[in-house]
Symmetry: D2
Subunit: 380 residues, 4 copies
Amino acid sequence: MGESKLPPLAADAVLKQSVAVPDSFVKVSGVDYSADSAYNARATDLIDSMRNMGFQASSVATACDIINEMDSWRGEHRDSLEEHKRTGEFDSQGFQKATVFMGFTSNLISSGLRDTLRYLVQHKKVSAIVASAGGIEEDLIKVLAPTYMGDFALPGKGLRDQGLNRIGNLLVPNDNYCKFEEWIVPILDRVLEEQQKALEELGAEALNADSPAVWTPSRLIDRLGQEINDESSVLYWAHKNKIPIFCPALTDGSIGDMLFFHTFKASPQRLRLDIVADIRRINSMSMEASRAGMLILGGGLIKHHICNACLMRNGADWAVYINTGQEFDGSDAGARPDEAVSWGKIKAEARSIKVYADVTVVWPLIVAATFAAKRPEQAA
Amino acid sequence: MGESKLPPLAADAVLKQSVAVPDSFVKVSGVDYSADSAYNARATDLIDSMRNMGFQASSVATACDIINEMDSWRGEHRDSLEEHKRTGEFDSQGFQKATVFMGFTSNLISSGLRDTLRYLVQHKKVSAIVASAGGIEEDLIKVLAPTYMGDFALPGKGLRDQGLNRIGNLLVPNDNYCKFEEWIVPILDRVLEEQQKALEELGAEALNADSPAVWTPSRLIDRLGQEINDESSVLYWAHKNKIPIFCPALTDGSIGDMLFFHTFKASPQRLRLDIVADIRRINSMSMEASRAGMLILGGGLIKHHICNACLMRNGADWAVYINTGQEFDGSDAGARPDEAVSWGKIKAEARSIKVYADVTVVWPLIVAATFAAKRPEQAA
Amino acid sequence: MGESKLPPLAADAVLKQSVAVPDSFVKVSGVDYSADSAYNARATDLIDSMRNMGFQASSVATACDIINEMDSWRGEHRDSLEEHKRTGEFDSQGFQKATVFMGFTSNLISSGLRDTLRYLVQHKKVSAIVASAGGIEEDLIKVLAPTYMGDFALPGKGLRDQGLNRIGNLLVPNDNYCKFEEWIVPILDRVLEEQQKALEELGAEALNADSPAVWTPSRLIDRLGQEINDESSVLYWAHKNKIPIFCPALTDGSIGDMLFFHTFKASPQRLRLDIVADIRRINSMSMEASRAGMLILGGGLIKHHICNACLMRNGADWAVYINTGQEFDGSDAGARPDEAVSWGKIKAEARSIKVYADVTVVWPLIVAATFAAKRPEQAA
Amino acid sequence: MGESKLPPLAADAVLKQSVAVPDSFVKVSGVDYSADSAYNARATDLIDSMRNMGFQASSVATACDIINEMDSWRGEHRDSLEEHKRTGEFDSQGFQKATVFMGFTSNLISSGLRDTLRYLVQHKKVSAIVASAGGIEEDLIKVLAPTYMGDFALPGKGLRDQGLNRIGNLLVPNDNYCKFEEWIVPILDRVLEEQQKALEELGAEALNADSPAVWTPSRLIDRLGQEINDESSVLYWAHKNKIPIFCPALTDGSIGDMLFFHTFKASPQRLRLDIVADIRRINSMSMEASRAGMLILGGGLIKHHICNACLMRNGADWAVYINTGQEFDGSDAGARPDEAVSWGKIKAEARSIKVYADVTVVWPLIVAATFAAKRPEQAA
């Protein structure tokens, strides 16, 4: 250990020279605290300072850049298009705009993010939604009764004894579901009635394309949005703004419990929910879009469903994923956007980013720096 | 810094005395390398040495203990039960056994775990399955053409150019889906024909309970299992052993693509898939079970759907979760079993465990140490 | 499946009544988009809207509340204290304030967060720092040459060929380390000279308490901060503001490479770095503090070291952890604050929170809403 | 929605043809349950069935392949080498073998994995170890008193009241640390005595290279291994087999507490621990190795320290990482082997793998299928 000559092996490895740094390289930087804007910073200033900060700070800023590009993209004017190309979304002045698919998981509606998601639907920032079943029912239930703050560590047995259901660090009193049952049963009765009436009228054509005898998850959700008739609700605004909400597994939650109960009440008649018409509907939106973007908040079904729809157009043009899934287990939830490129679900030349974060931590900031950087009346 | 007297504050805090350790405390221990069984160890020996190892090793061993208890549980003899209580599962000698709900995500069927999942279905180790759409189609497609090993880091653009779809470190040639389309289209034609025939026969009762005019995901999956007719297939054995496979969002994958295409081919007629009947069916299985167990491999829909079904019986009696989800984001995927206790989805007194691991790492070992500790003929 | 009576088991389980919700329960809420402050929101408004949002949004807001409480806590006036109790930190008016230990991992200095960490040190928001070795050298190197934005997916072989070292999505040209070597070697020469001179002078007392012959990591770091003499540097301000930086494993990085090289250059003499004096120093700060707080940014050594120091006072009074570690693997990095309570490292009655997030995503926002809610001159 | 012609856009995207699959492609496969070896499978059979299973199952099998290759690699015979090249490790017959650096975090010694780590040291399967401080003291403490099984959810306050320290789902009574103090203090007294004696003898040369006045972490650890003198101990076998254990931050744990206390007891004399000599020592082992392999169990310091040492030889030849860290936060813990390639810490042509798993879940299986596939006497 007492040698006095440094072996060249180590020196060469440690002090290896690098190539000249290309001019295109961007230096890492952070918040400039000499500027007034660093103090109690505004969302856009925060995002600007995060852009070249590295790690997920940069990914958050990239997500904002993609969203702004997607939101402001405009194509041809409607009048300059051949008639069969007048599909997809147009802005109020008649120019093509992106069709934006937003997916979110149930827990985000349970959280206070519901207000932010509702804001986006109210102001037509998205074109279609894919949600899991809880994302539908919790939006409705919150009109009937609130959800409360809890703690991740509250023991389950004590909560069950008190009828308090835990969702992470939130609590939903079970009475909320009782209220939901009271509210929804009469609606299901009427929906069944409409189904049966149409069935009788249409006979052998009752299951044909566009038959009114066939209820689908998106059709039922639209009806529920109409019935709830409350401005705090995502479903209300989706109904009002004709933004379809897709939920292929609508039975997987409290609505499923109610539909299950209803099978006994209605017997031998039965309300049916067809999922084939909805896959036709969402895929058609994708094909008709002049450009398509994806905002994926969470993982699982809601992520895959939007990606799969975008395969129908040979790939989305913009994609923002935000979730905590990891790719190492081969899950779709954890798959990076580049995996979707291999499937044709995102175009190779599309701008895409995955932000590795709990959605509640970043989405309020991202929305404040993009869709809600200005008040809607000012932005218009 | 040169003081010479240790302040008692630090000494008291560091050298605080502990209570006498109760006799019930179990010492941490590991592999005993003095025993021959430690070398190239068998599954059951590995599990025994992991039981008091701590961290997830202990969780894996607990999962094995729960599975063995659930698998060997026996209740009353059929003949000693009142007629209306003769529901749920019985063993070959007529004793009540647990109804086991197994859920798995699509990627596990894409992986080599398919053989293990098929083994469990073939040997009736489970009573019902909940899968995501890919878990259905990939099982069928693997009969038609293989999936290959790839790498997590293969760039998406090059893969898309070659028509190779990536799933984590696996690759599925896109031709596999073309073969799948050729195989399934004639089946969908026949299924539609059966629907229409029944519709015409039943008229206004066509949508009633148990109407043959109504196809559901589980009914279609059963038909596909019958048609594929191949012993390597999970669906084949599920059909043969009358083990229902539930997949409420069956349209969310390649089958959905095919159903979508079929809406054009069949127009104006249309095949319909009702999800209400399936929620009735799975919930009924839960209510009828004398005891119920959950094996949850992965997260998302498949986890929630089984938990929700078990609410109908006021909670499962055994629960094993294996996935990589974390609770901090309030996701259902990451929720611990104790969250399900608060909802009444797992009984407070049930044995449950969550193993935090990629399923492929632990499930082969767990199965080898439990369900497949002995050859079926020996075990019987 | 066609039964018409809902079994009471299911109805009772699903519609179980809950206890009356106590008045103390807090409703989940989110951003109020009717308020002007929701648009391009300021940091404090964002945090206010996240407080009862649930999941990690709430944890971020709690972290801000804890930081504000810790930062503004004031105890007795110096003059009203017995002499031996005049330890720890005092504000400019002579009142006791909290001793704040901040730990961060190397990568945060590589990222643009360095500016934020420097801001906190410059304005004496923290009392002591624990860093990993890279957190020392990268701060110095950034004065000599910049770090650049890269991409997580850049292949390692090509980068090595070009002499570009990757840190997540950042790139550090290897020339930066060559520049660092040129800068640090003369300093190490002088430090060794001082060691040897003191050794000769002190003889048998050369290793005694407070001997100038003994260099420690914190003493060398302080010297490096003095030498770098650049206002962009964390070490510069730490030196200037007499805020010690502890780094028990200072050899574990490029400085270690340089110290290693120096053993050959200096042979048979050798610079020594003693870690015992530093544990005495950090533990003493903990014992002397009137109140102690922990800001832990990342995991591993820097987390454990601060927690361990706080054991010497029977627990910290405030604790904020921010990292992505999970507890399931029994790692210290992933351990929740409540695990530290069991060890006496955090007081049972302390306010503490763990935020599960990449630090770069949340720390700029948290600092903007707390320490930097006002300009320092305004805040004073 | 009622159109009858499928747009070619969707058909082309979904049914895109793939290139012919090259012969080199390997099919995904799993357990072959027609073979007897599938039942209560042995470790090597399990690993064989996991090799082409995909996801982390494949990574585990790759880890085994790398370990077997590394363990069996043999180079030149000692006698055929020039004298200055007779460095590194040789097998009992005089052939060069790989120098294996194994790193593990403290919690693994707390867990039952200690027996497995001890087995590897006892049978000279590794050449050097890097551990965190807890990995040193917990090994010693376990000779004095056991660690117990606990639960991740035990509340910290109650545990502290009882003096039970929690590590994940393990419990360590605080009395164990009191026993440790009694055991170690006399040893520290003697070590200080030796330091002072050498200091007096050597005078101005007391800090020179190889001076016996200078204690280092690795030297103290070796002495502790000698003193504990118990075959269950990792340190005992490391001492006996002359396998150095490096722990640059040895003060960061209970040993640090004891060294801290000792500064008061010994004042004004003080034991010193130099970390410069240890970086010289580990780097020298790396440079002298004919081939070098890394076994990294966990993250943080122990990972970086081994990687950094391997930079001195321009990269390791084999690398197995096992931990739960993720790369998205730019942490070294989560960095993939390919990031180390960019730094020259792993050779571009080396075989490397990262297994994403809690070490306790996979390491017993991996060891049983590799190092312990045969009893040592049989293997020799």
